[in-house]
């Protein structure tokens, strides 16, 4: 707010008093908080660099490939998560489940041919998540509530249909071998991730939908008043997220040669971590696929380092949790300051 604004702004004293009391500190330290985010990121990169130099076996081509390989599937889910986040809907807590659902569908439909099975599996992912987008965008239900509920619903349907069994491929490996064959020493999902990320970034930058998504995420009321299709954009963002989860599911299902709900693993959490550590605003409107990819690579590198240094699983989870917490706090603080 400029000073002349302050002079002429009509009175809304209580709101101002409360705002001043609550966000006064943040307002005064806004630049410091923004700088803090960069400082935290720099510190993280520095730790990684130190670890890289001091850890045996880290600076090898093989290890580099291992890191990239581990980014593949989770990176694709994270790209999808970015769309939900950019649109101002926090995140979807059911993308991991949708990944498992798509994997099951893909393996079960394989007998129809790889192409048909892949299209069906991806479409199921997009539809399941898109439906949640309708609930969030058109009916204004809280995205966390919707996606938790939808996750449970998907699990219920899967258990009912499969009886809890692991679904095995309905066609021989030869028909989908290319999905699990490394290319130039890198696993196939890495290439898929590259393609998905590139097209996602193009969509965000150079399409009407992409622009609208940023605007809706930045200020939903203004978007509505400007006549933007808030419900449509939100639905589409969730559908894209589901599509990404579907693609990830196809890759994960074929790699594991079998699929059940356990496939969902920690994908949801890892995708959210990647998007947050990459510096996307969880309240929407600011961020990019590039940032998410960066976040995913940072997190994968960290995991790799901890593995090489023989950290236990508990310690690994702990460290990741702390990092996500720090970044969420810093990013939110920055947003709170700018809103005050």
């Amino acid at each position: 707010m400029t000073e002349s604004d302050a002079a002429a702004e009509p009175l809304s004293l209580h709101r101002r008093a409360v705002a001043a009391a609550v966000t006064g500190w943040l307002g005064a330290h806004r630049t410091a908080v923004a700088a803090g985010t960069w400082a935290a990121l720099a510190a993280l990169v520095a730790v990684l660099a130190y670890g890289a130099v001091s850890t045996d076996g880290f600076l090898t081509v093989a290890n580099g490939k291992a890191i990239l390989a581990s980014v593949g599937v989770v990176g694709i889910v994270a790209v999808g998560m970015t769309f939900v986040m950019l649109g101002g809907n926090l995140f979807s807590l059911s993308l991991g489940t949708t990944l498992a659902v798509s994997a099951i569908a893909f393996l079960d439909f394989l007998h129809l041919g790889v192409a048909a099975a892949a299209v069906l599996a991806a479409a199921i992912g997009a539809a399941v998540s898109g439906a949640q987008g309708v609930a969030v965008g058109a009916f204004g239900v809280n995205p966390i509530v919707v996606t938790i509920g939808a996750g449970a619903l998907q699990e219920g349907v899967v258990v009912k249909l499969t009886g809890g069994r692991t679904i095995v491929p309905s066609a021989p490996l030869s028909s989908y071998r290319f999905l699990v064959t490394p290319l130039l020493g890198l696993p196939f999902p890495v290439y898929v991730l590259a393609g998905v990320a590139l097209s996602a970034e193009l969509v965000l930058r150079y399409t009407t939908f992409g622009r609208e998504l940023y605007l809706v995420g930045e200020n939903r009321r203004a978007a509505r008043a400007a006549g933007l299709r808030v419900a449509g954009v939100t639905t589409a963002a969730f559908a894209v997220a589901g599509l990404c989860a579907g693609v990830a599911g196809i890759l994960s299902g074929s790699y594991n040669q079998g699929a059940s709900l356990t496939l969902s693993g920690t994908y949801t959490y890892d995708a959210i971590s990647a998007a947050i550590v990459g510096g996307n605003a969880i309240t929407g409107g600011r961020g990019s696929v590039g940032r998410t990819l960066f976040g995913a690579i940072v997190m994968a590198t960290l995991s790799d380092l901890m593995l090489l240094r023989h950290y236990g699983t508990g310690a690994q989870i702990l460290v990741k949790g702390v990092i996500v917490l720090v970044f969420v706090s810093l990013l939110n603080a920055r947003r709170g300051g700018s809103d005050g």
Binding site: L11, H14, L215, E218, A225
Partner: protein, 546 residues
């Protein structure tokens, strides 16, 4: 004249223990108010306060004096400096020079909490009670003296006495605040001020959203509070209420004190004269000759029995192409609601609106935009701009689909469209890639309007307080833009609380008071003092609410 004598004794008489009253209470303050004789015992003294914001002088050499037991009215136009003065008292703005003395001791406030700690309490129409909590929980909210655990019975007793004194004695302390009316919530805030043992209560436009019955209750509570030794500052646009409630009135004009008088020396005419100054009593006074006549082709936009949410009477208007219509109304008058209804933002609005003979569906923003109606909110930050996004994106936000080619949005097309719009509204094209938040208020408003201006299909432009938070030069530019737009054949309807702006910009001035239209006049026939009387009291003669 209603003073303290109004059937209100000193109440239970006992002032809060912590604040002995420094002089006896008069049932009626002496004529002339607390004058120099009482200077040493004045509760609050504001001395030669001045504050500038950049080139704008907000207040200049403002002094006033308030003693315990006094209700002091503070009146003035938008921009007269009331807001700045109150913000200084709240500790939100530091004055450039001059000072504030409480009980004769200089007071330097570092923030809202500090002001509260010094016994200053504030009530305005934006209530700070928490709806989900109970009445007593709200009463004790932020009470720094309360321990973590307080014995329930003593809490109840304290709550009960504070509530009783504001006329909420019948209210169960365990009731949830969300079940209370706006008026009751306001009374609860006053009770909270009592409970916190505040010394000075500042009420800022407290009645804007209340019904008459509620207003009476709030006034009774204010009188009670004053009688128990509080000083009260009552900021209001509603002159009738000021004359009814206050002992003394200070009028600010252009940042200076235009007069400070005991109400016994004032009547409505005198008060209006103080507000508008000498020049205010001639029709179209001190205005440049009308640059435009009213266009002949009325009826391009017609409103028949339109009832925006909360309105007490349907409104009918016939507006012409190229006409600029000013809705004159104070905050809470209903002018904003009318504009929102026309812009499609009020699903509950009723009535019929037609544009060039075609019926305009109410309640859908997209339908309104398709029909060529653009609404520009008075809440530029909340409902207008995408502050974190670039100026270019803000400019093209409403027309992405017309720029795009089959969903694709070539950057060159975006830059081109944004550049054209920027030059149209005189925004520096070099700033197109910067976030909108980095622009000044005036430039932000131009960007916001620019979003609408290029729409060839726009037939009706609705502006809610178009120059709110905009400095003088920005304001001139925005007025020129609005003119330009009207000259292109569109109808413009804007709302404003500002006489200057209404007389500068409007061809037709429609006055809105208490959710209905009270008059329509071409600009040439507008007498500023009459207009002000209508905006603040519903007419030259006060309108008695049913």
């Amino acid at each position: 004249m209603h003073l303290l004598g109004d059937g209100l004794g000193p109440g239970d008489g006992a002032p809060p223990e912590a604040q002995p009253i420094r002089e006896p209470l008069h049932p009626r303050l002496p004529e002339g108010g607390p004058a120099a004789a009482n200077a040493r015992t004045a509760l609050l003294r504001v001395e030669h306060l001045a504050k500038r914001f950049g080139a704008i002088v907000a207040i200049d050499d403002v002094s006033l004096e308030l003693r315990a037991g006094e209700i002091h009215g503070l009146c003035g136009h938008n921009g007269a400096g009331k807001s700045t003065l109150v913000r200084v008292l709240m500790g939100l703005v530091q004055p450039d020079s001059g000072g504030v003395l409480l009980d004769g001791r200089p007071l330097s406030l570092r923030g809202a909490r500090d002001a509260q700690a010094h016994g200053l309490a504030f009530v305005d129409q934006e209530l700070s009670v928490v709806p989900a909590l109970t009445v007593e929980e709200n009463l004790f909210l932020g009470d720094t003296r309360a321990g973590l655990v307080r014995r329930r019975s003593s809490q109840r007793r304290l709550a009960g006495s504070a509530l009783e004194r504001v006329g909420l004695g019948g209210l169960a302390p365990t009731r949830a605040v969300e079940a209370l009316s706006v008026g009751e919530r306001q009374l609860l805030e006053i009770a909270r001020a009592l409970h916190r043992q505040a010394r000075l209560l500042i009420l800022d436009e407290p009645t804007a959203t209340l019904t008459q019955v509620e207003i009476d209750k709030v006034f009774a509570a204010v009188r009670e509070v004053a009688a128990s030794g509080f000083g009260v500052i009552f900021v209001s646009h509603r002159l009738g209420e000021v004359l009814d409630l206050c002992h003394r009135v200070t009028v600010l004009r252009d940042g200076r004190v235009a007069g400070s008088h005991s109400v016994s020396d004032l009547d409505r005419d005198r008060l209006v004269e103080l507000l508008v100054g000498e020049a205010g009593s001639e029709p179209g006074a001190a205005r440049p000759p009308a640059r435009r006549r009213r266009p002949a082709a009325a009826g391009t936009v017609s409103l028949r029995a339109v009832v925006p949410p909360g309105w007490s009477a349907p409104c009918d208007l016939e507006l012409g192409a190229g006409e600029v219509v000013g809705l004159a109304g104070q905050v809470g008058s209903g002018a904003s609601e009318l504009l929102r209804a026309l812009g499609g933002l009020s699903p509950k609005a009723r009535g019929e609106v037609s544009l060039d003979g075609r019926t305009l569906p109410l309640g859908s923003v997209r339908a309104a935009i398709r029909a060529g109606v653009v609404y520009i909110s008075n809440d530029r930050k909340g409902e207008g701009l995408f502050l974190g996004r670039s100026v270019a994106e803000n400019l093209v936000a409403s027309r992405l689909s017309s720029i795009s080619r089959g969903g694709a949005l070539p950057p060159r097309a975006v830059r081109g469209a944004a550049g054209r719009l920027a030059s149209r509204v005189a925004v520096d094209p070099r700033r197109l890639s910067q976030p909108a938040a980095t622009l000044s208020g005036g430039n932000q408003q131009k960007v916001f309007i620019g979003r609408a201006v290029d729409r060839e299909r726009t037939r009706l432009l609705l502006l809610d307080e178009p120059t709110r938070g905009v400095d003088v030069s920005g304001r001139t530019e925005i007025h020129a833009l609005v003119r330009l737009f009207a000259d292109g054949g569109a109808t413009v309807v804007f709302s404003s609380t500002d006489l200057e702006e209404l007389l500068d910009l409007a061809d037709l001035v429609v006055t809105v008071f208490e959710q209905r239209i009270v008059s329509k006049r071409p600009r040439e026939a507008v007498v500023p003092s009459t207009l002000l009387a209508e905006m603040t009291m519903g007419g030259p003669e006060p309108v008695v609410a049913p």
